[in-house]
Amino acid sequence: MHSAAPLNRFLEQIEQRAYRIARYAVRDADVALDVVQDAMLTLATRYADKPEQEWAPLFYRILRNAIIDHHRRQRIRAAVFMPWRSRNGADLPAPGELIADGEQAEPEYRARLSGAGERLATALEALPPRQREAFLLRAWEGLDVADTARAMQCSAGSVKTHYFRAVHKLRETLGDDWP
């Protein structure tokens, strides 16, 4: 029988980074907690028997799908409750636009960030989602190119391109004298 201790260690190591990655994507603390919790539950109940080295790419793939589902639900909800905005189907609000209110709801969290952290958070949130994802998984989570590609369900070449563009954009936004 599979022991729960290694899985507990794995989740404990990544849960805070996963929350932050989810939070950059959904920009709402409660939603970020929900998607991370769902991802943990899915990994633990369905994939705990997989080899440990597969857990990280699997977990981030699950998390990514949960974030995409959240954005999809937001867009559908917006289409139902703000139909005048989606009359042509092309005028649906972008996910970031919909969840901006969540950001305003947690000013105390923003206040905790240092100046450097806040500038970084703003720059990360401004990145296109795929670039942000590739950057955070490679640079922060420490996944290699192959595992990042597995998590993002794309080719290794796409990961390298997204990562390169993300680094370039962040350096441009933050400047070389940052922090």
């Binding site: 729960a4 907690l33 539950l41 105390e108 905790r112 970084l120 922060w140 922090p179």
Partner: protein, 117 residues
């Protein structure tokens, strides 16, 4: 090119440092830990339920029964091997010669052929 790669590497290291240094609110840390414990508990409960479910053991039982049947058949009384095709043909030829000899003997009795000696 190399200098730019080095600068990019240093920049990424600074980003990592800033991200790692940024503290999460205590309430969030606690909720994450609770979510983890809940996920592990549900996974454990699900695994135990699957182990208890009688249906889980049906395929295992069927496989064991099949293997037992195969083993029993292998070790039961030996069945004589069916004759090979050549053996059948040989036996047929021998039977034909025997029948011819019997016919010859019967003809000799009937015709009372005198002994050559």
């Amino acid at each position: 090119m190399i200098a730019d790669e080095r600068q990019s590497g240093e920049f990424v290291a600074r980003v990592r440092d800033v991200l790692d240094a940024e503290p999460l609110p205590g309430a969030v840390v606690e909720r994450l830990a609770t979510a983890r414990r809940r996920a592990l508990a549900e996974a454990g409960a699900g695994r135990r339920a699957r182990l208890r479910a009688p249906g889980r053991w049906l395929p295992v039982g069927a496989l064991a029964a099949t293997l037992l049947a195969v083993v029993l058949l292998e070790h039961s009384a030996p069945v004589p091997a069916p004759p090979l095709e050549d053996d059948v043909q040989l036996a047929a030829v021998e039977n034909l010669e025997l029948l011819e000899n019997l016919d010859f003997a019967a003809w000799m009795v009937e015709t009372d052929v005198p002994d050559a000696s």
